[in-house]
């Protein structure tokens, strides 16, 4: 199934993506144990190191230890500029991650391309994969990154990440098909 964008607005999700208590509990567990895959390319990597460092400790939020294999991670942090040459590698890494997975575009280069508008820098990583949270800044301050992480955690709790809604939709479609048959 292709990679599709879903609407993650609170009003829309509230209509059809209702969560059961088990789902709420699972999402609570998921949000506090994110395994990040830091797809580090450029200068934002330095701020990512600072966020992971002792002062702006990301370990407080449970997202401390990076897993350098997409098979073992669920949060893809795209840190730095994505170029056209890097596009296939990024898409491949994203495809290899297991659902549910979330994506943070860290920095303005990963969000929109930043002030690199030229023949090689991709105008944002969302040209290739769907992004859940965008962090502007060149590079963003570590406090911004933690704010974005909290924003993402709220989304995970509400079940409104792109991949969660996709799974939810598939689940509802299969349930509806089974209801029809049975």
């Amino acid at each position: 199934m292709g990679v599709e964008l879903t609407t993650t607005r609170l009003e829309d999700a509230a209509k059809w993506a209702k969560q059961s208590a088990v789902e709420r509990a699972t999402n609570w567990g998921r949000k506090f144990s994110l395994f990040t895959y830091p797809f580090v390319t450029a200068c934002c990597g330095m701020e990512f190191m600072s966020v992971a460092g002792p002062k702006y400790d990301i370990a407080r939020f449970g997202a401390e230890f990076p897993r350098f294999s997409p098979r073992q991670s669920d949060l893809l942090m795209i840190v730095g500029t994505i170029t056209e040459k890097q596009g296939p590698a990024l898409k491949r890494v994203f495809d290899q991650m297991a659902e549910p997975k979330w994506v943070i575009a860290f920095g303005v280069c990963a969000s929109t391309g930043g002030f690199y508008q030229n023949y090689h820098a991709m105008p944002g990583a969302d040209q290739v994969i769907p992004v859940d949270v965008y962090i502007p800044g060149c590079p963003p301050r570590p406090e911004q990154v933690l704010d974005a992480l909290i924003m993402l955690m709220d989304r995970i709790q509400a079940g409104r990440g792109h991949s969660q809604l996709r799974l939810k939709r598939e689940q509802l479609i299969t349930e509806a098909a089974q209801d029809e048959q049975g």
């Binding site: 580090v40 990597g45 701020e47 460092g53």
Partner: protein
Amino acid sequence: MAAPSTPPVGAPPPGDASSRSLKQLVLGRKDVQDLSDTEQELPPDLMTVNMGPSHPAMHGTVRIVLTVDGERIVAADVHPGYLHRCFEKESEYATFTQVFPYTDRLNYVSPMINNCGWAMAVEKLMGLTGHLPRRAEYIRVIVSEISRITDHLTCLGASAMELGAFAVFLFFLKAREWLYELLEKVSGARLTHSYVRIGGVSKDLPPNFHAELTLCLDQIVKVMVEGEGLLNNNKIFRDRMAGIGAMTKEDAIATGCVGPIARAAGVDYDVRKDYPYSVYPEVEFDVPVGTTGDCYDRYLVRIEELKQSIRILRQCLTQIPDGPIMVDDPRVTLPPKAATYNTIESMIRHFKHIVDGIKVPAGEAYAFVEGGNGELGFYVVADGTGRPYKAYVRSPSFVHLSTASKLIHGHLIADVVPIFGMINMIGGECDK
């Protein structure tokens, strides 16, 4: 009526090729008869393994296509360019002052040095070299040396982490945070400062700078003691670094290596000593030179350079004079704000500077500084307008990466990590 007999174990298989035994299938092309039972050999085949372009090591992005024989590398093809952000093309469309943010992002662990290099190249074209106010030169040297310290802390911390020494990474990062905060007070940004301007610097140092920097340096000395104590005589660290990736002095010169890599190989070349610029002739410092050129020597050279940078900073703090921070030349400076808002001539001059850029006379110049990785040069061709006609960066990381395939030849795959870490290939500088 004879039952079909199963052949005894170890005997050659009966019949045609389709009924091969399991042993022959597993062992491949070799025939079972050629192998004795004591040999457990598998037929050797070279394997192609891909490392990158998304590295766990936070060095930017490089792809190495390795051809390995077991675990030993027999050939390596290095593919850079995954972070090619078109610095040269963007510079041709930006004014000379607008290029400063792009230079920040070249060697993003020591951004001030890149800024200074670009400013020096344009000043050379305008004939301003040596005419800058002394305070501006001292400020440039101070922030450059602070950037050099952050460069070495990042390089050594990240390399140590990749070899498993996570605590050292955290200690060096803690030290780097202090410097980032200090530079934030000076320039307004933690990492990409864009602080230097053509003809000087943009803002003066903040009021309490001397005391804060002195305190920082004292703390960093303590952090270095801790870090060195954990690494220098650590058997695991030395075994993984010593003897790995050695380079001879002649190779280092012929392949264009500069900076800590060349100095570790025995080449006594430091731009600050051999082609002195700014106020480096007035400060005393030593240049560490290694012997074998392996990774452990590069590590020691960087540690020593860090200490020498601290020494330079202490001297600069005592020697820095008061005075203006920009050269008094209307070709490059913006007029003071009171004049801009009250006189039409100053407003027009301000407008022309911002929109058209500084008019640099036609010609070309190559100016170089000692970056964190060595000779970082800017080759600028100007055509008399406010935008560069060509702005080429002589990036040391690119040159060092070209030696990587030879350095890792014959080593194990696990040795790629310390070699790569000690080359300190910064993606932004390598791929421009």
